[in-house]
Amino acid sequence: MAHSSKTILALTVTAMTVAAMAASPAAAHTGGTVGSWTSGFLHPISGIDHVVAMVAVGLWGGILRAPAIWVLPVVFPMVMAFGGALGIAGVPLPGVETGIAVSGIVLGLMVLFAVRTQLWVAGVLVAVFAIFHCHAHGAELPGSANPLAYAAGFVIATGLLHLIGIAVGQLYAMPRGQYVVRGAGAAIALVGAAFLTGIA
C-alpha cells in the first residue's frame, strides 16, 4: 500500500475512532458509569493546553520515527498513571499549570525544529510532562461516581490524542508534509506560551 494511502487510512481510522468515542451514547442508564466515563473522556480534551501537548507527543514520535513513534505512546500512559496516582493520593505537585504550559512550549519547539534526540532523552522529557498532565486528572478521580469509568475515559482519550499526533506525524515523511508537522509544532508552542503568559 502506498505511503500516502497508509497515512490517509491512519488519519481516517483515528478520526472515526475519536468521533465514535466522543459521540454521546444512547444509553438507557444516565449518570453513574456513563456520566463518569464521559467526564473522564472529556477531561483531557476540554483543555486546549492538554490537547496540544498530547498531540505534540505523537507528532514528535513521528519525527523521531521508530522505535520512538511507538515507544512513546506505550510508555506515556503508564507514566501518566503515576502522576495521576499522585493526584489521587493528594500529593501536592507545585506548578502543575505552569508545567502543563511549559510542556506545550517545549514539545512544540521539539516538533518545530524537528529535534532528534536519543530515545531515553525523549522518554524522560515526555515522562516528566506526563506527570504534570495527569496529576490534574487524577485529583478529580475520587470525586467521580464511577472511578473506573472515569479513569478509563481519560486514559483512552489521552491515548487517542497521541494516535492523532502519530497519524498526522506520518506526514513528516513527505517533503511538504514536513511543513505541516513543523507548523503544527509552532502552533502548539504558541498555545503553550499563551497559557504560560496568561493570555489564554
Binding site: H29, G32, V74, F82, A85, I88, G90, G138, P147
Partner: protein, 184 residues
Amino acid sequence: MLPGGGSFYAGAAHPFVAFEHLLALLALGLLVGKLGERQIGLAALALLSGLLAGALSQTQFAISGSTALLGLALIFGVTLAAVPPIPAGVFIAVSALAGGLVGADTDVLATGDAPLTTRALAATGLMIGAQIIMLNAAALSRIMVQRGWGIVPRVAGSWIGAIAVLLLTLAVTGVTGAPSGAMP
C-alpha cells in the same frame, strides 16, 4: 442478580459489567493471543477451571478479589506493553489464577435461599461470559500480531495498566469515592 434477568444471564453479564473483571480478562486475552492455538486452548481450559474453583469457593466464604484483579490487570498490562518472553506455562497458570479471582469475586454461588439450579445456571453463565471476553481478546490480539500490528495490543496493555494503577491507588489509599465496579 440483575433484576429482571435470569440467573444464567446474570452470571454471563457479570464479567462485562464488573469492570475489574473486564479489565483483567481483556488483558489476559490480549496476552494469551500471542501464544499458539494449542496454548490458547489450554489457557481457556485453565481459566474455566479457575472460574469454577472460584465460584465454588463462594459456598464457603465470600472473597473479594476486586483489588487482586486490578493487580493482575496491572501485571498483564505491563507485560503486554513490555513484551518480555514468557513461557506458555506461565500464561496458563495465570489464566487459572485470573479465573479463580473472577469466580471468587462473583456472588453466584454464595450461600442463601437460591436453589441449586439457579446457582448452577449463574455459574455456567459466568464461565461462558468470561470465556467470551478472554477468547475474543485473544483472537483480536492474534490477528493484530499476524498482520504486523503487534503494537496495538501493546498500546492496549499500556492503557489497561494505566487504568489499573489509578484504581489500585484509589483502593490502597482509601480515598473516599463512589464504589467502582458494576454498572448501576
